[in-house]
Amino acid sequence: MVEDYLQKLSETLTAQCGKEKSKTILAEVRDHLDQAIEELVGRGLSRQEAEKTAVSRFGDAAAVCRWYADQHRRPSVWRASRWPLVASAATTVLWHFQNDIFPSYFLAKFGALIVINTMLALTAVLCYRSKRFTAGPITLSALGLFLLLVGSFCLFSVPIFGEYGYGVIARSSVDSEIERARQMLARSERNLQTFGQGQKVFASKTEPKEGVGQFHDSRGYLTPIYFQTLDPRVHVYIDNKEVNGIVPTYKDARDFWIDQPSRVSTATGKSEIFYIAEATDEAADSRRLIRELPNAASLPLATKLPAFAGTAKWEAIFLLGFGLIADVTGGILRMLVETVQRRRNRGPLTS
């Protein structure tokens, strides 16, 4: 009978309090029941009667679990989960609307990093204080953040097509984004036109790393590459030969490197290398942005939601990762503190 009772108690307590906590509670309850049974048997009851009386006196297993749920679990859960949710939501809002809130990108990035780190520390402290791992609440927080973000995007943002699929920008940034796309299109068309005239120009931010490198096109295109080093301080080598002024094919250009003084500024655009395939892609992307962005705000929700959910998903995963790191940190911190405390103070009965 006692075993049945403890089994029932164990099932619910494990679900509510975790395996470790449940184990210590059950050990205590077992000790309590053993003492009660021993005393009742001493008074003349049979073993079976004593067990029945002890269990009935202790109370219904479900009621015991309810007491733990009310007094023990809920406050810890919410204490540990509410701040990460608030902090991460604030960080994410800062991050996504930084251009409208802050004049400086770096200031926004710096601010977001401070909030993220504060959140991490705060979560670690809360996990430490709640005396157990709080992966459940952190997962709930991540889910809450996901829903909050999708809701915020629906109100304040539009989807934008980019290099890695759809992203999100603030509605107030649409005009400046269209202007940027126009500038990008003009540059791409200019470069393509120059190529069409048989000239060798080309620049972009896909410049290979300085030094020797095996050439490969990250997208797998077997397109020729075209070099012209407009900056006299920059020298391009292919297969150990300086290639300024020639137009090699991919086959010819198995190895190349760029030799340039460290002071050459890529910001001038003169020392950058540009692949023709990228010029084509860039022009196509720019045209698509110019065509889609003016109507992005009025797109049906069914079209916008996947883009919003896609962006929010990564933020939620990011929070989950941070939260779990903090969770483990809090757990380790607690174990260390408890070990030190046990060594310093061995308890009231033995001190």
């Binding site: 509670i25 050990a27 000790d31 109370g59 007094q71 023990h72 308890g347 009965l349």
Partner: protein, 109 residues
Amino acid sequence: MRYKGELDGIVLGVLQAGPAHGYELVKRVKSLSDGVLSVGEAKLYPCLHKLEEQGLVSAEWIPQDGKPARKVYALTAKGSGALSEKRTAWEQFAAGIVAVLGAKESNRG
């Protein structure tokens, strides 16, 4: 005025006499109160664990010969302070009740 946290106060009060395990606490409450008070056994343990979390009691697993270890609770300094506060609150509460009950009796008289 309302007196709160009766079970917490009773547990702290009983531990004033010295460290005890859960079963012993139940028996002490009965004997100290001459059988007037009885603590719900199932409610006692969540209460003890809560007090332990709050630092009002400390607990230690004491090994026993041939039996599993037993968890024994003791009042901490913080717990003594909390007990004093509870005692004061109770005295005020009891004084209020006595005054009201006494006033009713004198009205009748």
